[in-house]
Assembly symmetry: C2
Homo-oligomer: 302 residues x 2
C-alpha cells in the first residue's frame, strides 16, 4: 500500500461534534475539552462558531470559550464564520483562523444555510477578505461531497468546481465533507481525484461521518490517493441531524488506532484522547460512539 508517512488530524469535536447537542454544554466543559485535546497533541482544534445563536444555540458561548482556552503556540483554533457579522465576533475574540462553508448540493445549501451555493460564496467573500486583512488563515468546508439527503448523488466535478473556487479565493485548505456518511471507498476516491485536478492534494482534507461505518475504509482509500489531512471528533461526537440516532464524525480514537497500526505519524496520543473522550462523554451523559473508545473501556473494566 502506498500510504503517506505522516498525516495531520483536525479535531472537530468541540464544534461539529457538539453543535447538535440538545442540552447546552457549559463553557467550563468546552474549555477543558479543548485544552485536553491540545495537551494530547492536536495542533488544529476547531473550537466553535460565530453563527447566530438563534440557529445554533450550542455555539453561543464561542467568544467566552476563545477567551478562556489555554492557547498553545503552534496550535490553531479555527472557528466557523458564516458571514461578515460572524467575522466581527472572530476578530474581537482574537481568532487566528476561521472557516467558511458551502455545500456541493443546492438543495442542502438552501436547507442548511437558506441560500443558494452562489449566495453562500457572496456571503463569505467579505469574510475571506477581512481575514486576509487581519492576517487570519481561512479554511474552506464543502459539505455533501458524495451525496445529499434531499437530492441524492453529487457529481465529483460539482465538488471540484467549488473546491477550485474556494482555493482561488484564498482558503489554505479545503475540507471535503461527506456530511451524511454514505460514501464508500471508490466514490470517495473518485471525488478526491476529481477535486485534485484543480487543487493540490496536500491542500485537501477529508471529513467523513461514520453513519454507515465506512469512515476508516474511506480514509484508507483516500490516503492511498495522497490525502494527508483528516477531520475527526473525539469519541465520535456529533449526530447526524438527518438520521436521528445515527452516529456522527469518525472517532479520533478509531483513526489514531488505524494510523498507529499502519505506522503513520500524526502526533496525537491515543490514551490521552481516549481519556478526553471519557471526560466529554461523562459530561454529556452518554457512551462514546468510537469503537476503540468502547474497546479500551471494556478492557479497563475486564
Amino acid at each position: 500500500m502506498d500510504l503517506p508517512k505522516r498525516v495531520r488530524l483536525v479535531e472537530v469535536g468541540p464544534r461539529d461534534g457538539l453543535q447538535n447537542e440538545a442540552k447546552p454544554v457549559p463553557v467550563d466543559v468546552k474549555v477543558e475539552l479543548i485544552d485536553r485535546l491540545t495537551a494530547a497533541g492536536h495542533t488544529t482544534v476547531e473550537s466553535g462558531s460565530f453563527v447566530s445563536p438563534r440557529w445554533v444555540p450550542q455555539m453561543a458561548s464561542t467568544d467566552e470559550v476563545m477567551a478562556r482556552i489555554n492557547r498553545k503556540p503552534g496550535v490553531s483554533y479555527p472557528v466557523l464564520v458564516p458571514n461578515k457579522q460572524g467575522m466581527n465576533g472572530a476578530v474581537e475574540a482574537r481568532c487566528e483562523e476561521v472557516a467558511v462553508f458551502t455545500a456541493a448540493s443546492e438543495a442542502f445549501c438552501r436547507k442548511n444555510t437558506n441560500c443558494s451555493i452562489d449566495e453562500s460564496f457572496e456571503r463569505f467573500a467579505p469574510v475571506i477578505e477581512a481575514a486576509q486583512k487581519h492576517g487570519m488563515r481561512v479554511r474552506g468546508y464543502i459539505s455533501t461531497v458524495v451525496a445529499c439527503p434531499y437530492s441524492g448523488d453529487v457529481a465529483p466535478e460539482a465538488v471540484a468546481i467549488l473546491a477550485d473556487r474556494l482555493f482561488r479565493m484564498g482558503c489554505y485548505e479545503i475540507s471535503l465533507g461527506d456530511t451524511i456518511g454514505v460514501g464508500t471507498p471508490a466514490k470517495c476516491v473518485a471525488m478526491v481525484d476529481a477535486v485534485a485536478q484543480h487543487v493540490p492534494r496536500e491542500k485537501l482534507a477529508a471529513h467523513f461521518h461514520d453513519t454507515y461505518g465506512q469512515s476508516l475504509a474511506n480514509i484508507l482509500a483516500v490516503m492511498g490517493r495522497g490525502i494527508t489531512v483528516f477531520d475527526t471528533a473525539v469519541a465520535g461526537l456529533g449526530g447526524c441531524p438527518y438520521a436521528k440516532g445515527a452516529s456522527g464524525n469518525v472517532g479520533t480514537e478509531d483513526v489514531i488506532y488505524m494510523l498507529n497500526g499502519l505506522g503513520i505519524a500524526h502526533g496525537v496520543d491515543l490514551d490521552a484522547i481516549a481519556e478526553t473522550g471519557r471526560f466529554i462523554c461523562a459530561a454529556l451523559g452518554r457512551e462514546p460512539a468510537s469503537k476503540v473508545a468502547q474497546a479500551l473501556k471494556a478492557q479497563c473494566a475486564a
Copy 2:
C-alpha cells in the same frame, strides 16, 4: 483500486455470533434466523457446532437446528466440529460441510481448547478423514492470526505454516480469524501475503472482528490483495469474550453496504439482511452493533 468483481460472504452469525450469548436462544429462533439468512441470498451459513454442551451450551441444540432448517439447494450449512465425537453428531445430522479450528498462538490454543496447536491437529485429523469418507467438505479456521490476547503479536509466517498444513490436509478453504479485532490494514495485508505464499489466495477467507472498528478498512485492504471470501455476522452479532462489552464479528450489513458502493457483486440483499438483523436483535433484546443497521433503523424512525 484493483478490487475483485465478485466476492462470497460466509454468514457466521448463527454460530460465532450466538455462541457467547448468556441466555439460550430458542431453536425456533435459530431456525428462523438461518432460513431468513438464506432467503436473503447467503450461500454459506455457519449454522452451529457439535462441541460439548458443557463448554458451549448455546450450541447444544445444533442437531435439532440442522433437522429443522429449510435446506436450500446450493447452500452450504457448515458446522464446527472439534473432534471425532463431534463428527459423529455432524454425520447423524446429515451435515454436508464441517469446520475444524486451531489457533496461531499456543497460549490462545491452550486457553481456548485446552491443547497445544499440534494436539489440535491431532484432534481434527480424524475429523477430516471421516469427512472425506462421507463426502463432506471441510473448512479450516485459524484464530488469532494477527495477535493473541495472552501472548501479543503473532508472526505472519506462523499463520502461513498452519494454513499450509490445513490446506494439505484437505480443507477447501482456510478462514483467517483476527479473533480479538486488533488488526489494522497493513498487518492484515502482511499476514495474508505470507499465507498466500503457501495457499492460493482464492482458497482464503478473512474473518475480522470489529472490536476496534477496523474491519471494513481491513477487508478493503485484503480485497486489494486478492481475498474474495469474507466471514460476517448479521447485525454484528458476537461479543469478544476477552473484552466484555466490545463488539463482535463485522456486521454483514456494513460489509454489504461497502461492497454495494464499490459495485462488487455478492448476491445478498441488504434490506432483507437488515430486517433479519432486527429480528434476531429483537429476540436477543438488544440493539444491533452494525452501524448500517443503526442508520437504517434511524432512517425508518425519521
